[in-house]
Amino acid sequence: MHNPQVKAIRIIELLLLSSALVLFVVGSILEDTFFLRLATEALIFGGLAMSVDLLLGIVGLLSLGQAFYFGFGAYLSALVLKEISPSFFLAIGIVTLSSIVLGWIASFIALRSKGVYFALITFGLAQVAAKIVYNTRSLGASDGMMGVPILQIWTPFGSIDTSHPGAFFLITLLTIGVLYAVLKYFLTTPMGSIWHAIRCNEDRLAYVGYKSKGPKQVAFILAAVVAAVSGALYPMLRGFVSPELMFFSVSGNAVVTVVLGGVGTLIGPILGSVLLTLFKSIIGTWTVHHHIIIGIVFVVIVVSAPKGLAGLFAKYLGKKHPNKGGE
């Protein structure tokens, strides 16, 4: 725990978890709906941002089309819940398996290119998918799909209703927490080290006897799964899906969230998503022009603090205890 970055991540984790639990307790006592729903949405989009961070911050691949997998998860989950059976675990299971297949197929297309070409190909793929969904009548075309049923989720402590804001907040917290833990676990494996090496210098990886293709493919598929599972929670919260979920604004927003929160930390995107969602709802009460402020903050962060808020925090911790700090 001497590394300030590790310490910063641990503190942010604890901070987010404790504020989530406080929100749950206080929100449940006061029978609040608004803030619990808002926090649930922040977590869902935080999951999407986390998948962008896995690619950008860990492996060094900028995806401008992560909304594709998010929207895929949302639509598939809505379809399963409406047409097959209103079961949480069935929907999550089907979305996980299908997104592995989708990510695997897409990885063959996207990973043929690197750098800006990767960014543009993911962008192009997501645009094609969004346009197709937008124009497919059986998927509701531009209206999307409504009427996703309220679920009864089985837990060891009894059945939980998704219409209950506090309960569904906990379910979302748990799901995103599991995704986070899975990604964290991957980082401790040799595969995780190879990801870091790819980001630092992909060409030299071959000199030490590793192939970059396989690990990159695993990261790509994993990112698709994280985005899709996060997306699968969306119709359970809102009761509908719309093609806007696949649009570039969602992918772009996820990238903004990652950069604000802290690239390469995985918890930074969650922090960024919570702060951005909060900021939008506060500022949204007196102006609709929140993009201009977010945009300016974003530009300032890219120029002056490319590591984002988590990076700034780590820097602060490093300065506070310079003797303990060390790269």
Binding site: V128, V302, V303
Partner: protein, 294 residues
């Protein structure tokens, strides 16, 4: 057979060409900026919108459309110059500058788009065409303004080509793109060339905005729809290649307009993107790769 060619294909091809010329103008700016600076300018569409909005404002102040064609690019050059100097140069020396500059210009796009909403409102504005009437060509009527657009656009594209390949300024730009250290040791002010080239690309986008404002309406997100097409063109043609942008621009817009005769127009966009993705898959450097190889 001949009649279908005349009344079905010809109008579609001419319409495609008039859009194609504008797309090529946008793509030229993008590709020149990438060819020299390695910057993917995500805010290019917003500068296109800036051109359209400024021309609308100038025209309501009583300035003629023709004068706007000159004035708007001149107004955008200092803005582009300042943006390159103050923002892009700040992240230019990082290892992952490709990604950082892409993010940076994306942030600028966000700010600009919202600024347009505040200044000009979110509702579309439709300026009237400066040339009215229509002329007969090949036995079919075409609006005069579209014909003017094609002629003027072709002239502009030709001038850009002359500027890059036949003038001293163009030689400097190409030299800086090829080897920035060598150019700099030969006394070329590379940093200023970077900023000027960026400003030039931005001004081209603004000019495209002025030209297209009378055809499409002017609204804050107008750049977004157009930038996708311009990106596809630049990628298919090869990032950094002027010839590629021209050829791919004409090909893709023709593909779009002719395919819309057979399939619903809503599917022609995915078709163009599919072509782009296929090109990226099998020939990531596009048809003609890079200004450096020119």
């Amino acid at each position: 057979m001949l009649e279908s060619l005349q009344f079905i294909y010809a109008p579609q091809i001419v319409n495609g060409l008039s859009i194609g010329v504008a797309v090529v103008l946008m793509a030229l700016g993008l590709t020149i900026i990438f060819g020299l600076l390695d910057v993917i300018n995500m805010s290019h569409g917003e500068f296109y919108a800036a051109g359209a909005f400024i021309s609308v404002s100038l025209m309501t102040m009583g300035i003629s459309f023709w004068f706007c064609l000159l004035l708007v690019p001149l107004l955008l050059i200092p803005i582009g110059f300042a943006m390159e100097r103050l923002l892009i140069q700040k992240v230019f020396h990082y290892k992952d500058r490709h990604i950082l500059t892409l993010l940076l210009t994306f942030g600028v796009a966000m700010v600009l788009e919202d600024a347009y909403k505040i200044i000009w409102g979110a509702n579309p504005i439709k300026p009237s065409a400066p040339i009215s009437g229509a002329s007969e060509l090949l036995g079919v009527m075409f609006p005069n303004y579209r014909l003017f657009l094609m002629g003027f656009g072709a002239l502009l594209i030709f001038s850009v080509w002359i500027l890059i390949y036949k003038t001293q300024f163009g030689a400097i730009v190409r030299a800086s793109a090829y080897d920035k250290d060598m150019s700099s040791s030969l006394g070329i002010p590379v940093m200023r060339v970077y900023a000027l080239t960026f400003a030039f690309g931005v001004a081209l986008a603004g000019l495209a905005g002025v030209l297209l404002a009378p055809i499409y309406s002017v609204f804050p997100t107008m750049g977004r729809d157009f930038i996708l097409m311009a990106f596809s063109v630049v990628i298919v043609g090869g990032l950094g290649s002027i010839k590629g942008a021209l050829i791919a621009g004409i090909l893709l817009t023709q593909l779009q307009s002719i395919s819309s005769l057979y399939i619903s127009p809503v599917w022609s966009d995915p078709l163009v993107f599919t072509v782009m993705v296929l090109v990226l898959m099998f020939k990531p450097t596009g048809l003609y790769g890079g200004m450096k190889n020119a």
